[in-house]
């Protein structure tokens, strides 16, 4: 809180309230009004999160902007919110993407506009809640509630196979969540009747229980990240989701899983984390290398970027489990950067899809001839995805590789292969879609970006370049928290 003003609560509830307002506009007769309210709500939602950045104190690892009230006294469950250097950037990222998604769906979404816009606004509030919750049950409520709007977004506005994808997405995630719930209840009883995550961090737990807790959390978070081998829902969900859904999935929802490792698995079960770090690193490297190769063979653009996301998220989990400052900070930067880049790429594919109604690479060719402005933006984001120095994609990957070298040369060697594969699959796709002769009459009829699309891409391009050239504003905010975190996870929590 600053000056008694509950910033985080406002950041959570403002978009949700606007979402309900949008719903109240009713059916598609009032679609323009629904769009306007959604835009105002999402922009306001972003503006109210800015104090979290400007008012953030860099020299402490304590929770800031804390709000703490009784919620369910019977179980000592609290409405307990706060941010530290690890979570604050994700809140900003979430709020940043909501207006972009609203604008991206401005013209494209024609049926049930109010419900579409409301789903995104409500989901944005809920996701901020996930990043800010410091009470385990509050976290769980936000975590699960997030599924409901996403389920509807994929299922109602998605592609041909949307129902299958939506149900698969929901059940996959629910599986992990329910196991996590049992672990949380166990921790509640171990910690002497508190659901505060900070108390969980101090609770001593025997090794066998730590391993089980770690596995329960692993199911919840690994599914969301997603890590190999529980990644199979992601390509389906991405391909079938509407553009906005893909953007939110890739840019934010995947980060929620990785964030869970930092907030729960590693600090609550540090001994088990060290014990199982080998497995985690192996799974991460498989994701980086193998999924990178899988991406190479895709013929569907969205699937390609989806697999590329899995591969990039492998970097993130690798960075976490090598337990050094480079790895951790690199991983966090990679998460932020991947949010921007993958979001931008999905928006690019959305632009093409809106015009051609195809995601097949083979249906395109020579787009640069008809859409030169688009081709330039797409180029930048493709380069960022392959980790070109000067773009945000480079910073995180480079630092993680530095950290990996410190841990084990071969980890770094395997991880660095992504610089080759990443460039290969992204640029090859780019070449096939953009360059060459005009492939068919549909491509010849393409029109270049509208001012609305240019606005979205300009914002993203500035961010991607800015973060690549001057990452300090991002890294300095997480510095103290990351160091404190590493000290914490190095300490054993086994009972004496």
């Amino acid at each position: 809180m600053i000056f008694g003003f509950p910033v985080i609560s406002v950041a959570i509830w403002l978009p949700i309230i606007f979402g309900i307002l949008v719903l109240a506009t009713g059916d598609d007769k009032n679609a323009p009004l629904a769009r306007m309210i959604a835009l105002v709500g999402s922009v306001l939602g972003f503006l109210v999160t800015i104090p979290l950045y400007t008012g953030f104190m860099l020299d402490t690892a304590e929770m800031q902007f804390v709000e703490r009230h009784q919620w369910i006294p019977r179980f000592n469950i609290e409405y307990f919110l706060g941010v530290d250097g690890i979570s604050v950037l994700f809140i900003l990222l979430t709020a940043f993407f909501t207006p972009l998604v609203v604008v991206a769906g401005w013209k494209v979404i024609e049926k049930r506009v109010a419900q579409y816009m409301a789903s995104f606004l409500i989901m944005s509030g809920i996701m901020i809640g996930v990043f800010a919750a410091l009470d385990a049950i509050l976290f769980y409520v936000f975590w699960e509630a997030m599924l409901i709007p996403m389920f509807l977004i994929i299922g109602v506005w998605g592609g041909a196979n949307r129902v299958y994808a939506a149900v698969k997405f929901f059940l996959y995630t629910l599986l992990g969540s329910l196991l996590m719930l049992v672990a949380l209840i166990y921790l509640y009883n171990q910690s002497g009747g508190s659901f505060s995550i900070l108390d969980f961090h101090q609770t001593l737990i025997p090794m066998s229980a730590q391993i089980l807790i770690f596995i329960a959390f692993f199911f919840a978070f690994a599914v969301k990240v997603p890590m190999f081998p529980v990644h199979t829902w992601l390509p389906d969900a991405h391909v079938e989701a509407p553009t906005g859904g893909s953007v939110v999935l890739a840019a934010i929802m995947l980060k929620v899983g990785a964030y869970g490792f930092l907030r729960f698995s590693m600090p609550i079960a540090p001994d088990a984390s060290h014990e199982l770090a080998g497995v985690m690193i192996a799974l991460s490297l498989i994701a980086v290398v193998y999924i990178g190769l899988v991406a190479l063979t895709q013929t569907d653009m969205k699937k390609l970027v989806a697999y590329s996301s899995i591969s990039h998220m492998g970097f993130v989990t690798l960075g976490f489990f090598i337990f050094n400052a480079y790895g951790m900070e690199g991983a966090l930067l990679q998460m932020i950067s991947h949010g921007f880049v993958s979001g931008a790429l999905f928006l690019c594919i959305g632009v093409l899809y809106d015009r051609m109604h195809s995601r097949n690479i083979a249906d395109y060719g020579g787009v640069v001839n008809t859409m030169p402005v688009f081709a330039a933006f797409f180029m930048l984001f493709a380069m960022a995805n392959s980790g070109l120095p000067g773009t945000s994609g480079f910073v995180g990957e480079f630092i993680v590789i530095l950290g990996a070298v410190k841990a084990n040369f071969w980890y770094a060697f395997a991880a660095a292969s992504t610089l080759i594969f990443g460039a290969a699959y992204t640029l090859w796709m780019y070449k096939r879609v953009i360059f060459g002769a005009v492939a068919n009459s549909h491509v010849a009829e393409l029109t270049d970006l509208t001012w609305r699309e240019i606005a979205i891409f300009t914002v993203l391009a500035i961010t991607v370049l800015g973060m690549g050239l001057y990452p300090l504003p991002f890294s300095e905010i997480m510095h103290t928290s990351v160091n404190e975190f590493l000290v914490h996870v190095a300490r054993s929590k086994l009972p004496m």
Partner: protein, 486 residues
């Protein structure tokens, strides 16, 4: 002597008032033409309101035993009774239009409903094996008749027949078990039975043998696997209004019934009955959730879902702790609320000559009526136990009690079956939101039912955002009532 009689009568004054009113309604109804049936309906609602006022007005702190300890009046009984009135009253609002359309909106239906309510009240307040049995029979006989009320429907008659025969069998088992417990302990008073068992004087073999029969009888009434066979047929066969009556308030009475017998009467045998309940609970959750997936009739699907929910409810008892019993009570209350909403929705979508009881009838509801679809979405996610709806906290409390008792594997099994359960609730949401409607027939809903549906659906959400009060009420009720017996 006179004041002695008064102290005896005070705690049962709600029951007496109800009985008087039922008799009055039965007589008055003879003089009313079908067009004036609304008067009877209002009278029934007023009776329920009167009962609530009396129950609140005669509430005394502490536990009072009256009629030589046959009847108990405590906080738990008062709260459960109030919730019973409320759910019966909600049931009547939901069913009025449905029954009118089918010519079943009769005085008999309402009188039988009130008799069933009285049976539930007796069960809730019973402190003696015979009182428990009397209450149960009063409830059951009224329900058998209600299911058979649609005389020209073969399915309903078949359902009533099955319900009656299996119900009678269950009553027989229960009675047989009680007689053995009586033989072993020499008493039918719950506290006396409990003391006799705790003293160790009673024949252990006979006790356990009797216990098996009692638990089997209870499982029959609850519809727990492997005594569940009647549930799908009765839920499916009975007209939806009757299904709603069976599937709502009696679950509250069933909770009271189980907690009176097992906790107040047979707590010293806990190590025996908790083992049996584990098997019943796991079987119910497994079979209920898995079989529900294969159903195409939504009433049948809810029948299997009820079986699964009853399994979850029984889990709360296994812990043998006050937290556990409180969690079961919370679960029962929440379940009744969700069940009323779900069956209410089926009736809302039905109209004259059309039963909306196929899963496919829910297709595209979001396009036909977004608000109703949203209410159903809340109810379904609540049944699946997804926050921020109250169904999550019901599962959460039970799981917490189970983990506290050290049965972590059981908690894991329970959540895995919930995961399976989530699939078929999700399918309803899928049908409503993702599919195109098969019919564009307008949905005609009375203002009373649509208001109630809104309250019901939003209630599930509001209780999910602020579940603290209801949780505390359940915990305190169980604490003050079940502990003092020991």
């Amino acid at each position: 002597m006179g004041s002695d009689l008064m102290t005896n009568l005070m705690p049962v004054s709600a029951e007496i008032f109800l009985l008087v009113m039922v008799c009055a309604i039965l007589v008055a109804d003879q003089l009313i033409k079908q067009s004036g049936r609304l008067f009877t309906y209002m009278l029934v609602q007023l009776t329920l309101l009167g009962c609530s006022l009396i129950t609140v007005g005669t509430h005394e702190p502490g536990v009072a035993y009256v009629f030589n300890g046959m009847v108990v009046d405590d906080l738990m009984s008062d709260i459960l009774k109030l919730l019973t009135y409320l759910s019966v009253s909600m049931m009547l609002v939901y069913t009025r239009q449905y029954l009118t359309d089918r010519g079943l909106f009769t005085g008999e239906f309402m009188a039988l409903t009130l008799f069933a309510t009285m049976g539930m009240m007796v069960m809730i307040s019973a402190n003696h094996f015979l009182t428990l049995y009397l209450g149960l029979e009063l409830l059951s006989l009224a329900l058998y008749a209600i299911v058979a009320l649609q005389r020209d429907s073969a399915v309903a008659t078949e359902a009533a027949m099955k319900y009656f025969i299996l119900g009678a069998l269950a009553s027989g088992l229960l009675l047989y078990g009680m007689s053995m417990l009586y033989g072993a302990t020499g008493s039918l008073h719950l506290q006396a039975v409990s003391q006799a068992i705790a003293s160790g004087a009673a024949d252990q073999n006979l006790l356990v043998f009797g216990l098996v029969f009692v638990v089997a009888g209870l499982a029959f009434k609850l519809g727990a696997v492997p005594f569940h066979m009647w549930v799908p047929d009765v839920y499916h066969g009975a007209p939806t209004a009757m299904t709603m009556l069976i599937g709502s308030a009696p679950k509250l009475a069933a909770f009271a019934f189980v907690s009176r017998i097992l906790v107040e009467g047979l707590q010293p045998l806990m190590q025996h009955w908790s083992g049996m309940l584990i098997i019943l609970a796991i079987g119910s959750m497994a079979l209920g959730n898995i079989t529900a997936i294969a159903q195409t009739n939504i009433k049948r699907m809810f029948a299997y879902s009820t079986i699964a929910h009853m399994g979850f409810l029984l889990l709360g008892f296994i812990s043998g702790s006050i937290e556990g019993y409180g969690s079961s009570m919370f679960y029962a209350v929440v379940y009744v609320l969700m069940s009323l909403g779900a069956f209410g929705m089926i009736m809302l979508l039905s109209r004259e000559g059309f039963e909306s009881d196929k899963l496919d009838d829910f297709k595209g509801l979001n396009q036909r009526s977004p608000w109703l679809a949203f209410m159903m979405l809340l109810l379904m996610f609540s049944m699946a136990g997804v926050p921020p709806t109250v169904g999550f906290y019901a599962k959460f409390m039970v799981l917490n009690a189970v983990v506290q008792a050290g049965y972590i594997w059981l908690a894991v099994a329970a959540v895995m079956f919930s995961l399976i359960g989530a699939f078929y609730y999700l399918r309803i949401v899928k049908l409503m939101y993702f599919d195109a409607p098969e019919t564009h027939a307008p949905i005609v809903v009375g203002s009373d039912t649509s208001l109630l549906m809104t309250v019901n659906g939003l209630g599930v959400l509001a209780l999910g955002l602020l579940p603290g009060t209801l949780m505390s009420v359940c915990s305190v009720a169980v604490q003050q009532s079940l502990l003092i017996g020991h």
